[in-house]
Amino acid sequence: MFRQTSARRLAPAAGVLATLLIAGCHAPGSSSTPGSGASAGPIKIAVVDAQSGQLSSLGAWESKGAKLAVDEWNKNGGINGRKIQLDVFDDTGDPTTGTNLARKIASEGYVAMIGTAESAVTIAMAPTLQQAQIPNITSGQATGLVALKSPFLFLNGPTSTTYDETLAKYVVDTKGFKSIAMITNNGSFGKGEHDAFLASLTKRGITPLSDQVVTTDQKDFSAALTAIRQKNPQIVFIGSEEVEAGLIVKQARDLGITAPFAGSAPQGTPVFASTAGATNVEGTIVSSPYLSNDASDASRKFAAAYKAAYKEDAELHGAKAYDGTSIVLTALKSSNGATGKALADAIRATKYNGLLGSFAFDDTGVGIFATKIGTITNGNLVAVNS
């Protein structure tokens, strides 16, 4: 009895569902005639970044910075009358997810990709993007990115080599520190930082007192930090992302390590400071191309727009993504909405004066070759006059 009624009730519902499905299948098929999609309608740009997981703060900053640039261009009429459509994809910080997304954006007609903020993911995606001829502006800084030699890969900031050479120059040459310990993680970013800083130290004839490597997922650093404490270094170099670096510094202070830490981009972020605790990061030396929102008129304007849009303070990663996105949009404009190889060439030819400095891309896809040194003083990152 019950079964009969439910079956009778289901019949029309199933009919409706089937109609919906047919209609649903039909719609995208009819609208996606490839030829017309490329030259009319909005220009599609993809942001691929971790929107979930431990690295999601990077992804959030980056998509906000990119969106800010796109919104400004759209407000001014887009590119040759075409609007720019920015879509955000979540790679969860995972290279496998990243490669799947690379195929997805290649098949869905995106002309360029912003991201990712994780070198490992970008490196995994690069071959697919190169094959599909989609220019990619990454926020990664690992030297492994440059080693790929992909003509479609561009960095929106300096590489680890620049960050760490500037840092070593300040720490060793200016401050005269000789006893230095290192703690880095074995991820793509951490490995790049480790190799770059170690190379800069070796060049100056310095061997680190202790060279500790941790995993990217580690939570307890007692063993590594105790080994460092026993060497009593003047300064500890840290090569790890925001959250883990924050945990390392917090535990280091609990273990009685009083030496200041030194690092690059992640150490200048609010997430690093809040994870470690404000008093624990005091005195941290940071090598970064974007120390504060007050550096120039351009950065003040950017920071004000960022604050107005998202009710939070701008920082390096948002600024990098803003610069990178602006470069893509400038290249799209100058090339009359080109795609593929022509767009990559246009990006390479773009000279852009951005928040991080003056961009002029070389053959390796690196556009900027300088960072500044700052220290965390009273909770703020303050530029050092050197």
Binding site: Q51, S52, G53, Q54, S56, S57, G59, A60, T92, N185, N186, Q212, V213, V214, T215, D217, Q218, K219, D220, F221, S222, A223, A224, T226, A227, Q230, V243, G246, L247, Q251, D254, L255, G256, V271, S274, T275, A276, G277
Partner: protein
């Protein structure tokens, strides 16, 4: 020697968290024979609820954790209620059901709190103790003490109260238990609720040690699950010992093998499990469905 003891201290303080996670896994398993794959995400929800009430509502830390325990306890009851029709019918579906709950909880956390996560300031402001050069965080001592108390209360509940012994009976033979008038469903619900409460306790306590975000459950869950297996799945003291063991192995592996520590930790785990498939305390009485 200093490195040895410092590593041990670090390992034990995280081990206490793993132990609490393992307790929840074991309790549900011993009662229902079910591995609750949503457990790790309940830990995360607990951490979020506790940190929200501690940081935003400015409740005292202990109170915030209690709120978290109660709310995740309710989630546990809800989960059991949804899964109950499957009990003794389709066990695989029940397992998949818990996985589904886990994914849902993670999605809900992202909706409610965002994907970015937050750092929780330590509620214990006292400076670390310094014993012969080995520094012990005062907060870690608090965590260890709470874990010890929670275990004792749980064991007393299971052994000394009528409800607890009823749950033991269900664990041993649920048909016989039904025959003598024990409500199996209710017993399961209580197991789920207590398990979820323990998860919240673990998550809440882990907050100030770690970083609270929607995927924090993953690594705590894996280590906690390994801890439960190591101690003898379903065994309560075993879960505690397993947790402390995993924490310590992990800490020493990190010290000696640096970047390869995870590999070494789980190699050691595998070897122990190969030698003693039933774990240290060798309990694996539950075998249902």
């Amino acid at each position: 020697m200093q490195v040895f003891f410092q590593t041990l201290v670090g390992g034990l303080s995280l081990g206490a968290i793993y132990a609490l996670v393992a307790l929840g896994f074991s309790l549900v398993y011993r009662t229902m024979g079910l591995v609750n794959f949503a457990h790790a995400d309940v830990v995360m929800i607990g951490a979020y609820v506790a940190s929200t009430f501690y940081m935003s509502a400015k409740l005292p830390f202990v109170l915030a954790i209690l709120v978290a325990i109660v709310s995740t306890g309710l989630i546990g009851v809800f989960m059991e209620r949804v899964l109950r029709p499957l009990e003794n019918k389709d066990f695989d579906l029940m397992l998949i059901g818990t996985i589904g709950f886990g994914i849902m909880l993670e999605a809900i956390a992202i909706l409610v709190w965002g994907a970015t996560g937050r750092a929780v300031p330590s509620p214990v402001k006292a400076a670390p103790l310094d014993i012969l050069g080995v520094r012990i965080r005062t907060y870690s001592l608090v965590v260890l003490a709470i874990a010890a108390v929670a275990t004792t209360v749980l064991i007393l509940f299971l052994q000394r109260t009528k409800r607890g012994t009823a749950m033991q009976a269900v664990a041993m033979d649920h048909e016989a238990a039904t025959a003598v008038g024990i409500h199996v469903g209710r017993s399961n619900a209580i197991a789920f609720a207590i398990g979820a409460g323990l998860a919240a306790l673990a998550g809440g306590l882990a907050g100030p040690l770690l970083y609270v975000n929607p995927t924090m459950g993953a690594s705590l869950g894996i280590k906690g699950f390994a801890a439960a297996i190591l101690g003898g799945f379903g065994n309560i003291p075993g879960a505690i010992l397993g947790g402390l063991a995993i924490g310590t192995i992990d800490a020493f592996a990190a010290g000696h093998f640096q970047g390869y520590s995870d590999l070494v930790t789980f190699l050691v785990f595998t070897v122990i499990i190969m030698v003693r498939p039933t774990g240290i305390f060798g309990e694996r009485t539950v075998n249902r469905a």
